[in-house]
Structures are given as C-alpha cells and as structure tokens.
Point group: C2
Chain length 351, copies 2
C-alpha cells in the first residue's frame, strides 16, 4: 500500500491571546503515513475517530520552557488530546486490531503510539461498547470532562442535600454534568451561561432551579435571589468568581476547576474581595483530574456509574460535534469565545 493522507492540525506559533486559526493553529492537508512501513516502536497505530476540545488546551499553547501541570504542545507537531481511535496495526499484544481505544492521541487521521505511550491508553471494553453511547461521549461525559465533574463535585464540593450550588460554564462539558449530579443529590442548582439558548436548555432540559445569562444579567442580583452558596463550581473565574465570593455562605467550598475568562487575557481581572475567604472561612481548592485518575478505585467508581446513567437517560448529554479536522482550528477558538453549545468535540472520521 502506498503512503496515504494523514492530515493534521499543527501547533504553528505561540499565541499571546486568542489562538488564530491559520496562524497559531494550522490545518495541514499534505501529510502522509505509510501504514505498511511505519515504525511502531513496539506500539500501535490508531485510525482516529473523535478527538476532544477542552479549555485546558489553551495552557498547552505555550513555550516548552514554561512549566505547568500539562506539557506544552510541540511546535510544528499535531495538537494532542483525549481521543477515541480504532487499532489498525499492533506490535503490542495488549491491543488487538479492531479494538476501540481511549486515551491521548493526535489531531490527525492516524497516530503512531510507541510502546511507552500505549501504557497510557485503555481499551474501551466490549461491555462499555454495548451501552451504545456515541463514540464522542467517551471523550466527554464518559471521559475526562465527566471525571472532572464527578471528582470536583463529590470530593472537593462535599455536597449535602438541601445545599445551594452555583455553576459557571454550566452548559459546558463539565458544568452540565455537575448540575445534573447536584440535582440528583437534592441541591438547589443555579447555573450561568453565555447565551439565552444555553440558559433555556439548562432550565427546561436539565431542570436547574435557576439559570441566567451572565452577559446580560446582574450576577450579584441573580445570586441574591437564593440562599447563600454552599458550593461554587468555578469554570470561568473573573467577575463571576468575585460575585460568588460575595454570595457565599460561611464554610462554602469553591471547586476551582477552571477560569476560562482568564486564559486569553495577558492582564487578568483582579479579584478584590478575597478577604471574604477569611471572614466566611471559605475553602478554595484547585484540582487537576489527572492527579485523581492515578487511583484505580476512582476509575472503577466512575465507569461503574456514569456511562450507565447516560445510557439510561438519567444523565443527559449535550455535545457540539464539529466534523472534519479542517474545521478544528475554528472550533478550538470557538470554545474560548463561548461559541460551542455543549461538549466540544471533533469527529475526525466515521469508523
């Protein structure tokens, strides 16, 4: 077989604010891979089917010298992220051609995973495949964002029935799951989002107790309609974090999952009311779900519950699927502008 196309989205230049498609993130069509002669280094080759877009990727668009929790993207190489692919070649006996794989892959049609890299991949078991979820969901509610929601809500939020929670980015990949878990646990759930459509969906489909458009509403006034907050699940930071500090109850827990409002601004918004951390005895706790994923018991707990709840409709999932890698740079920019409605994901190929 002759070399075949292996188009990709390349990290071409480090952005200082928003990543510009065609400049910082480039779709490159004329790459190839020779499946017959590729050096697998004891690993496997996957045909990539879906790949996730997540806010944390902005942090990886930096110089390799700047240390952070997640490695910088390599310049002139494909972006990488959580993906689902199908094994098309294998030199590793743990992986069989035809199996579905979840883990880290490239923004490209085919990825070569060396032996060392395959250690971090997991096979999506036949039992899970039988649940019939779209493959996109395994990188969304049933993948890293769902794990983020689950861990952050239960282990850092420490929810108790009857409490009040406020979630920013509430229609996003993580927020939508947190809100539904919170309803399930008997909390009063308030969410904010950036369009009226998203707000309506939170109210009518997810049955949030209250939802509002943070761009047009007075956040403080909206929060003042309810009891003081026992949990703030933060995906956004900035003004809304400041409002949540003001609206917090004594001993409230702030689950610091992300601050997307701050990722693309060299001059971040200054938060002025941190004195309330002392006066109200607040706990603000940041976390990265990958730390938690090292615990096998967490894996088991998560996968024994969430995929089933999605399959039987107890948890609803809203995904924003973009078809084709060539659309990916725009779709990535879109999540920082709030253009996605639901979990953003790229469908690279249909099987």
């Amino acid at each position: 077989m002759a070399p075949i196309q292996n188009s990709a989205v390349i990290f071409a230049e480090i952005p200082s604010d928003y990543p510009v498609p065609g400049k910082h993130l480039k779709y490159v069509k004329d790459r190839t891979i020779d499946l017959d002669n590729v050096d697998m280094q004891g690993g496997i080759v996957t045909k990539n089917l879906v790949i996730s877009i997540d806010p944390y990727m902005r942090g990886r668009m930096r110089s390799a010298e700047a240390k952070s929790y997640s490695p910088a993207f390599e310049l002139n190489q494909p972006l990488t992220n959580f993906f689902v692919g199908k094994v098309v070649k294998s030199e590793n006996e743990k992986f069989i051609v035809g199996q579905y794989i979840y883990g880290f892959g490239g923004y490209e049609e085919y990825t070569v995973h060396s032996k060392a890299q395959t250690d971090l991949l997991q096979v999506i078991s036949e039992e899970r495949i039988q649940l019939g979820l779209p493959l996109t969901t395994w990188v969304g509610a049933a993948g890293m964002p769902g794990q983020t929601a689950y861990h952050g809500f239960y282990h850092i939020g420490e929810p108790k029935k009857g409490e009040t929670i406020f979630i920013t980015g509430a229609s996003g990949a993580v927020g939508q799951i947190v809100g539904q878990l919170a309803k399930r646990e008997g909390l009063t759930v308030i969410g904010s989002a950036g369009t009226d459509d998203k707000v309506k969906w939170l109210q009518t489909e997810l049955h949030f107790d209250h939802a509002f458009n943070y761009k047009t509403a007075d956040v403080k006034a909206e929060l003042a309609k309810f009891d003081p907050l026992n949990i703030y699940f933060d995906n956004v930071g900035g003004d809304q974090l400041e409002a949540a500090l003001g609206a917090a109850a004594n001993h409230a827990r702030f689950v610091e999952c992300g601050m997307i409002s701050q990722y693309n601004t060299p001059d971040a918004h200054g938060i002025r009311n941190l004195i309330l951390i002392v006066a109200k005895r607040l706990k603000l706790q940041g976390f990265i779900v990958s730390d938690k994923l090292k615990e096998p018991s967490f894996h088991q707990e998560f996968y024994s519950k969430i995929p089933k709840w999605i399959a039987n409709g107890e948890i609803k999932v809203k995904e924003d699927v973009t078809k084709g890698l060539e659309q990916a740079p725009e779709a990535i920019l879109g999540i920082f502008q709030g253009k996605n409605f639901g979990k953003a994901v790229i469908q690279i190929a249909d099987e």
Copy 2:
C-alpha cells in the same frame, strides 16, 4: 463605698478607613461604677488588668446591621476583646473573688459580666499561674493569637518536615508563633515584616532561615531565592498574597488567617493570578479560631503544650505593651500602621 472611676475606650463613630483616636475611638475618663450597688445579674465583676489589641477588631468597627463572623462593637459602649481580669465580686459560685479570669472583657477598668456572659469566661488555673508567665501572655501567645497560630499551622497548613513556609506579618502576635512552630517541625522558614528592626529580630532571635522587609525588598525576588512554597501563612493579603501564589509549589496550602493590608482600604487590591489555584492545585482555606475553640480536645492540646514551651524558653514571645487605657486608641490605630513590634496589648492596671 462611693462610686469609683471606671474610665473606658468607647466606640464613638464608625470609621470608613483608619480609625481616628478621639473621633472613632474615644477615651472617656468620667465614667463611674458603684461596686457596692452594681447589678451583677447573677454574674461577676472583674477588675481588668490587661486587654488584647487584635487586627480582627477592625472588622467589628462597623454598623451593627452588617453581618460578619464577629459582632459589631456597640456604639457609645466600651470596645471589648480578650482580657485578663481579677474577680472582685461574684454572684456565681464558679468564680471566686481573687481568681484570674481569661475571656471577653471591656476596654474599661471594671467590667460587669452577667450570668450568661460568665459561661464564656475561664479561670486561669493555679497550675497555669505557677508557670509565672506575665499576665499579658495569656491574651497573646498563650491565648487567642497563639491558638490561631497553632490551629492554622498544624490543621490547615499540614506541615511536613523539609517543606518551605512563608509567613507575612511574621513578627506579629500570630506570625512569631507560627515561625517558631515551623522551625520546631523542621521547615525552612521565610518571614516578612515592615521594619528592619523586626526583620533583624526574626533572623537573630527566632532564627528564621530568611526574613525581609516587604516595604523595601522585591517580594518576588526574595521568595525566588528558596524552593517553591509548600505553605503560605497569610496575615497580610494584597501584593504579598499575589507573590506567594506565584512562588507556590504544586499542592501548596494557603492558611488564610488575615489580610491586614486590606482592612482599612475601601478599594481593596485586586489579585490577578488566581488561575494558579487551578494550575498548581492550591488550597486556600480561611478560618476563624473561635470555631475551633468549641472543641474541648483542642483546648486541652493547646494548653498542655504552648504555655510550658513559653515558660521554658522553647518559644520566645515578643510583646508590645502599652500602659493605660488613655493610650489605647493610638495603640489600636498603630497595629494597622504596623507600629507595634510584637503582640500588642494594653496594661490597664498592675493587679
């Protein structure tokens, strides 16, 4: 006996920034008390010997309508705070004339404590008196500020040998104890203070590994000389909090004890790098020691250790004692301007 003088410091007016002696806080000489005919309401009368000055008092200089963790001072009444007094009259069998009492009392020569109020007072036992500490120390290192240091450092800071801690307000009532506990536990201890004298004392007397004057030094550069911070013990907030976020190690604990730099400024300093809470998985935890004081086991743990360590010189104590209630308004203002060197306290009378 005729009525005798009972001079006091009165909360005369609510300040908008710094409390001005003679305006917001007034020394009033011509008050009296008739010890023979005073209505004790089933309680006791104390002759007040020492009374504490603490930063949290600024939060009580507000309108009674504004809720916070500690009640507002009553307008036209004496300020109140932790004190040591001697029982001069008693209608409550738990208290005997001549005993030393620790608890809440007034900025006045004599205080009447009703039956309900005496429930919150404790007798300083004969065993403790035998340690020979100055009475001032029972409202300082062996009182609320010492308890604040102990609880915050051990239970929120979760120190481990070999870690690095940064303490702001390091020569103050709480900071000086935290630093010595941290040295005792084998941590690398960095402290900041606001005069060169204080810095020198931290280095030569308390043997901090490093100390600097935050008014003249570059805080970020000073912190960069050492390993990333595992614990930040915050008494100050503002710029130094921002610098500590920048210098923090992953999984660092921020013990949010106070933010004295923010208490007298209507426009607080905006902290711009809170995104590091997520990226470094930080925990910022506010606390009020009075919550912890409800646990009898904490009382016992604290009093079984700290007073002895002070008495035998293992913990050194620096106190800034002002004599006489008439000097108290200036001394109170002084702690917000960093004029005190060590734990600020008023000596009302010598026995």
